[in-house]
Amino acid sequence: MYYNVFGEKVSRRRYKEMCEAAKNRRELIAAGLTSRRDLMKMGLLTAGGMLVAKSGLSARAQGLGSVSPASNGQNISAGTQQNCIPGNQTQSPVTTPFLDPLVVMPLTQRVSSLTPTPTLNPNVGAGEVRAAAFQAPGISLSRFPVVPSVLYNINQRQFTARQTADTRLPAQTLWGFDDGSGPRSPGPTYQAFYGTPQLTRNINSLPATNQVNNTGFGNPQVSTHLHNAHNPSESDGNPCDFYPSGHFCDQYYPNVLAGFNSTNPPNGDINESLSTLWYHDHRVDFTSQNTYKGLVGFYCLFNQLDTGNEGTGFHLPSFPQYDIPLAFSDKVYDPESGELVFDLFNLDGILGDKFLVNGKIQPFFQVSPRRYRFRLLDTGPSRFYEFFLTNLNNLNQAIPYWLIGTDGNLIPNPIQIQSVRIGPAERVDVIIDFTNLAGQTIYLENRLNQVNGQGPVAVDSQFFPQNSTSTECAALGVPVTAPNGQPNTNAILNAGQGNLILQFQVTGPKVPDNSVNPATNPTFYSLPSTNVDPRIVRTFKFDRLNGQWSINGQFMDCGYANGGTGGESTEMFRFTVQQNSVEQWLLTNLSGDWTHPVHIHLEEHQILSRNRVAPTVPADLGRKDVTQLHPNERVQLFFRFRDWLGKYPIHCHNVVHEDHAMMALWHVAAQGDNILVP
């Protein structure tokens, strides 16, 4: 028996129709074939403006003509709890792609002082909410003064903004970051430098929780995490340390290399340099809603080699003119009102049918015929991408580009690629050379076939040889089809059949290019040695128990803190890492269908093996802070935990899983424990 969202029985035949229709429509929209001209060109739209009823483009319209139970078109549910059933999925209104220029976020503006002046210990009297005193000044007050010279005053605010120039969608109510120049999402981009500590005052100026003005999702309590920073725990943005509107948290970012106070004093290991970080809300249980509502931004960290100036150091394209952060997200809009909507009741993972870059749906970007560095970030909530460059006028044209960084860390040498895959929270830095593409229009295309929150429909054979199709469709014998109707059980769609996300118009003026040519094989950083015996090897099993996302059979626990009448006080830390020690962590996933992008705070890791085989995929070869854990896989990670003390999480960064307890807190202390399976 088959049901729609409200438990109404539908026939097997109708269920099959619904599956087919959902995929057809999703692919049409996603491919950007949404303008009248496009659809007519494809023979999908008649002159009268009606869509050709080709293999069930609208299952609802078909259903009305049959004797199926009357669902009255009301049975639409945001999101993907039953992913191949359009009756359960909200489908956004049609929008015309490539109307909006790409927005390049401005640099975060500094302030000369903060009132009240930041204090070593939390300034509770002034409304500050912080878990502990700053650690860095305790290590060296001269290097890390309590009030560093670089200060930022950030208000998190609600605001309205258009996400497309297409008037079929209204201006949206969003949450963003305001450095004094007005709120925006993504927030302004930090330009930070190693050796220059800085402090951000994160003020929660969102509407108070008890105001009845929510737009349907989001919890206006925040804790802002700086993703991948080698940061002291009190400034990390711990999920359990959120605070309501009217309060603030001073977050101290030392901008110091790992090892500075341990293995490589006094300045740390240059080979641990971080480059592309991002900040985002991390409020426990509500991270997916709050980041979806806009609380994300970039933090680019430079040093004497990765200078941001193509005339010096590694000679990478100059920031910010030719070095562009790109934040990807996929979203859904209400079919009638056009308002941004979020599936509050989804446990599996949420996919959108609109693709945004830097807060705009399918923008265009005019570039000059030269090299650019792009910093690609998947902000989630649940989608994986495999990015190709596509020329729609010549689908057979392979347009290679260069991978230079994984999770924001430069790899030893550039690797030429045709495509790269990233999951939620992962970043890749790439160089695209437009020199020989002058005058052309090139698309950044996602060709990864993903139909639900489980992950890509077929896991790449490099990782995992078995094909795993969408379970509910496969159970009915409905193959995952390409838009041309051919069965497609591969992860990768054909050129032009994926999601055209960003249009590059190579029509900018010819300008000098003093950046390094990746083809000359420049050397960046070396990978730190992993040839060290770990103090301990810990195992983490990512699983699902009765619909509850778990790590080693346990669930997220922030501890109990007098929610009502008082009661038990739980120990919220699952294990203790010894400060300045080496550990190996084995992440295992026997769940069969789910891919979990696993993120660990504080320190980066290197992937030693996948199912006992050394990694071969380029994006696996560098330093990482998120590792994709594929179905039936065991991944072996290498860590050095250095310098800082305190509490940090490990969690799945499919934020829907994270919000449903697939997270564990651990902490670093002078003496570690020996818990093998925390």
Binding site: N72, F242, D285, T471, G547, F555, Y560, A561, T570, A661
Partner: protein
């Protein structure tokens, strides 16, 4: 917030097929906007959540009283929602025993500021007598209501609040049923969930977020 009558919602429902039939092909859904009148964005969002996820179906409490799911149990309230069945011997006793501890920790808030609801997954077995007996086994206090109803209505609630699996075969297997506890504050549109098998202290903490709106996170409170 303006209250919208059931009749008005029903009138939107009735309009939907017309909108589809007249060729909203790509939008493919009901004509919600034309029924919106002067509703604010916030009110529209709240309506949308109710319409898609919180069906107003009749239920019977463990005391045999008839109630409507949305109107009587959810609307204008902070709530927790979970599923059980009386003869379940794995998940349900653990979750229900956990919730009994949670109720104790939340004290007087339960039944005054926050309402706990447990719904049977097997209404064909669990009549009023069975759920009353089950409730007594766990020594549930006032403010925690157990509910049964017509199978199709229980199914609407279960799917509405997302306690279903994408794979129909797994979804049918009630031993694998979703053990989460959904918590929410309906007028504020705050909705989250935590595992019913999580530490009861943290489940209580999570539920308390729906009523103690200005409290900082547990990580902060621990330091105090």
């Amino acid at each position: 917030m303006a209250d919208i009558s059931r009749r008005r919602i029903l009138s939107w429902t009735a309009m939907a097929p017309v909108a589809v039939a007249t060729g909203v092909a790509l939008g493919g859904a009901s004509n919600f906007a034309s029924g919106s009148g002067t509703l604010t964005q916030s009110e529209l969002a709240r309506r949308r959540i109710q319409r898609l996820h919180l069906p107003n179906v009749p239920l019977l409490t463990h005391e045999g009283k008839q109630v409507m799911f949305y109107d009587d149990l959810i609307k204008n309230k902070a709530v927790s929602l979970n599923f059980f069945f009386a003869k379940c011997d794995e998940v349900c006793p653990r979750v229900t025993a956990n919730l009994a501890k949670v109720q104790k920790m939340l004290g007087d808030d339960v039944g005054t500021k926050l309402f706990m609801y447990s719904f049977t997954l097997k209404p064909e077995e669990d009549d009023v007598e069975a759920i009353r007996h089950y409730r007594q086994m766990f020594n549930a206090k006032p403010g925690w209501t157990f509910l049964t109803g017509k199978p199709e209505d229980m199914e609407k609630i279960r799917r509405g609040i997302g306690f279903s699996y994408p794979d129909p075969a797994i979804d049918k297997d009630k031993t694998q049923h979703i053990g989460n506890v959904r918590y929410g504050n309906e007028p504020l549109m705050l909705w989250g969930a935590c595992p019913g098998m999580a530490k009861p202290g943290f489940v209580a903490e999570s539920l308390s977020w729906m009523i103690h709106l200005d409290a900082p996170g547990p990580g902060i409170k621990r330091q105090a």
